[in-house]
Amino acid sequence: MKAPAITGVPGVASVTNVTKRLVGRKDSVLARKTIRESLVSVAGLIGRPVRDTDGRDIGHLVDIVVRHSADTYPPVSGLIIKVEKRKSFINGARISSLTQDEIRLSTTKINLEDFKRREGESLLDADVLDHQIVDVDGLRVVRSSDLYLAPLDKEIRVVGVDISFRSLVRRLFPGALSRRPTPEHVIDWATVASLADGSGVVRTSSSRSKLSQLRPADLADLIEDLEGREQEAFIEMLEPELAADALEEMEDDELQGLLRGLPAERSASLLEKMEPDESAEILRDLTDDHRESIFQEMDTKVARELRKLVSFDEKLAGGIMTTHLLITVETDTVAHALKLLVDNRERDISDGVVVVDSRGRLLDHIQVVELVAAKPTATLATLIGAPFPTAVTPETKLEEVIEEFGNNRGSSIIVIDEKKKPVGRILADDLVDALADESGYRGTSQGNGVLS
């Protein structure tokens, strides 16, 4: 489809990202010998003693708190330990050494505070370990079998994640056997997207920018494979434009299921960003109440437009058209039209502009090629001429639209209202979608088939 939007990822240009991804393995911090040799297994560390400077036991480790920031590798910001029967929080700054067998603190006097979840922090055992994560390089959803800590840039950070079955089995063994790190199965934290977090989202900038490199269809597959909170967190993590693109690629029933799980507000903002005809198709299949609750949350202008689209029958031109049009007046210049095209380059419709007269009536559809060949200062009126686009009304039957398409290969069809004002366009892919729906080509059953 279109180039993915990468706005909002500061300082990261798409080209350097691709290069980074290609050399990912060599670039990885795990390639550094010092780090490989100092890996500490989180699964093995949980339950180990926490001691003071003098080596006296204070308690046992319950969980590790990490802070999410712009850094690729989240630093440890604190520990949750169990002292007698009470769970307490210890600031990460107090850690003097952290090995596979114990944690030493840099003090003998400890202030035990009650732990409260804070925004932007997550617990490695409770939120990440054994939860679903996205392996961005492998394009699949897996559960993390173990996580690894190592000192990096003056802090102890999560550097690796283990998704292997063998490491899961290792954790079943008793005693020290279960704690021994198995670094041969570790992959770089930067190549996964971890989703579980008390506050909803783990913002790992690197996996985020990696995700923006994926094709929307691949993202759609990943979304479909995730469950529950992880699914929502993943969508939350994507750039809105990219999320909308991915949603367009999802199976209709999977998408409906997803929207039923999301708050109406969130569904509304995603549907607003999708192509109107795609949004309308999904909205049409929702229950009346659900659809209405989503409309309530939308921008009123967009909602009005979508309401109209939804009301059209799917067997008529109005039901399959997209309402995104680049409309220009005949007195506009070629340069103006080109700028309009560039500004909307992410849309499906950027193959040309629709030209209308001063009263808004359809005159012509001018292709990009014609515009490029013309003088920038010329008015669009000078370019009007055959071949003229085919115009249909929203009430035109699907069969007739297909016939018109057959007669006018290569050009799209403009939908006009009774005053001859253009209201939409029908592109080849809209027709393919409509026909696929009609022939039942797309699966109609929902779910994986636990019970078909």
Binding site: H131, R140, R143, R171, G257, R260, K315, V450
Partner: protein, 414 residues
């Protein structure tokens, strides 16, 4: 998709049917060959006296199926994945091993039911069991499954015949009522065994995992929960009602005429004689085949779903073989191993039918405890977390299962 105006109604009914189903299917599949045999044995051996075990089992079934549905809808995760997430790797593995063993046992029982029914018609198990195994795999892995499922469903509904047979056999209703509300049992090996098997066959582990994964897989929401609960309650009550009539019929016919231990299917089928006369055997056999095929087509799917859920993401029949090797391997192994166990020459079919249900009860314990832990977790369940009173009731049921299993083990080893 069709014209919008016409579909509104269709969609509503469709949605209703889609939601009205899993609970009833799980319920009817609880009245599978193992269930019918266990209930028959209970009635033949102890007449009306131990009906109360069915009452408790049905009550437990309603509550835990309801809980499974709720967990599925609220967390939108399968049971096994959720256990691994909340309790770690060891717990996840313990849960999945329990579930797989219980399901293997029940799958074996389904094939035992097929073999038994085949024998009533005069066919060898070496013919009927392989055919059933191939048939079930073929149907499930092909998309035509949904339609065939309804046929199995209809066949297994033959067991409603017990309701009529129950009335025709003129049972002692008063004694039956007394047996339902007065917990008493002889403290013997046989009584403890059959009580445990009744719990295990009614509150089957696979049903709990199934109802939860169904809710997740079909992406049912909190809005659907009401309908789903109606369905689950209906299905569970249906299990209890059919079970009640099986026990009562067997008490009034078999037990009253001196048959106090069922050793083959023909004896069990004789309970239907007041209704069907000489056709009793055929009626019984048809019901066995339907119920066995219905359960045998869901069991391997549900098991494979759970195993893949432990490893990463749950798979289903929509995934291709190369996408989900673990899914298909589980499916295949479960079916083949269960069929081969039944084909061992001289395998005691009726004993297998009941023993597997005792195994179910044992393996229920860890699963119920995990479900209890999830139910009270406010972070996972939010406003749907179990209240103090409900927690007490769940714990009471778990205790009963625990006592039954301990007593059963005590009678086995001492």
């Amino acid at each position: 998709m069709t014209v919008k105006v016409d579909t509104t109604k269709k969609i509503r009914i469709g949605a209703f049917l889609a939601v009205m189903g899993p609970g009833i299917i799980a319920g009817l599949s609880d009245d599978d060959p193992a269930g019918i045999t266990t209930y028959s044995q209970l009635g033949a051996q102890f007449a009306y006296r131990m009906l109360w075990t069915l009452v408790i089992s049905t009550f437990a079934l309603i509550l835990f199926q309801d809980l499974g549905a709720r967990i599925g809808v609220v967390t939108r995760q399968g049971l096994i994945g959720l256990v691994r997430q909340k309790y770690g790797a060891r717990a996840g593995l313990l849960a999945v091993v329990s579930l797989v063993l219980a399901n293997l046992g029940t799958m074996t029982a389904e094939f035992a039911g097929i073999a038994t029914a085949g024998q009533l018609f005069g066919f060898s198990k070496y013919l009927t069991v392989p055919i059933a195994a191939v048939l079930v795999s073929f149907l499930v892995l092909r998309s035509s499954f949904a339609r065939v499922e309804k046929v199995f469903f209809a066949l297994s509904a033959v067991f409603f015949a017990y309701v009529i047979a129950g009335f025709m056999s003129h049972p002692h209703w008063g004694t039956a009522l007394h047996g339902m509300v007065t917990p008493s049992m002889p403290l013997t090996h046989d009584a403890v065994y059959i009580a445990t098997a009744t719990l295990g066959t009614t509150l089957a582990p696979w049903g709990l995992a199934f109802i939860q994964s169904y809710a997740v897989d079909k992406r049912l929401t909190r809005d659907d929960l009401k309908l789903l609960r109606v369905d689950v309650w209906t299905g569970s009550l249906l299990t209890g009602v059919i079970g009640f009539f099986v026990i009562v019929t067997c008490a009034a016919t078999l037990n009253a005429h001196g048959t106090t231990n069922i050793t083959d299917a023909a004896q069990a089928a004789a309970a239907l004689k007041p209704l069907a006369g000489t056709l009793a055997k055929d009626l019984f056999a048809v019901g066995l085949i339907g119920a066995a095929l219905l359960a045998a087509s869901i069991l391997p799917l549900s098991t494979a779903y759970s195993i893949t859920d432990l490893m990463g993401r749950p798979s289903g029949v929509d995934d291709k073989l190369e996408e989900a090797p673990l899914f298909y391997a589980t499916f295949g192994i479960l079916t083949v191993v269960a069929a081969v166990l039944i084909l061992i020459p001289g395998a005691p079919l009726i004993t297998i039918l009941i023993i597997t249900q005792i195994l179910n009860a044992v393996l229920l314990l860890p699963l119920l405890l995990y479900m209890y832990g999830i139910a009270k977790d406010k972070r996972l369940m939010g406003e749907f977390a179990a209240s103090r009173n409900m927690r007490g009731i769940y714990l009471a049921i778990i205790t009963i299962v625990g006592v039954c299993v301990s007593a059963m083990l005590w009678f086995t080893f001492f």
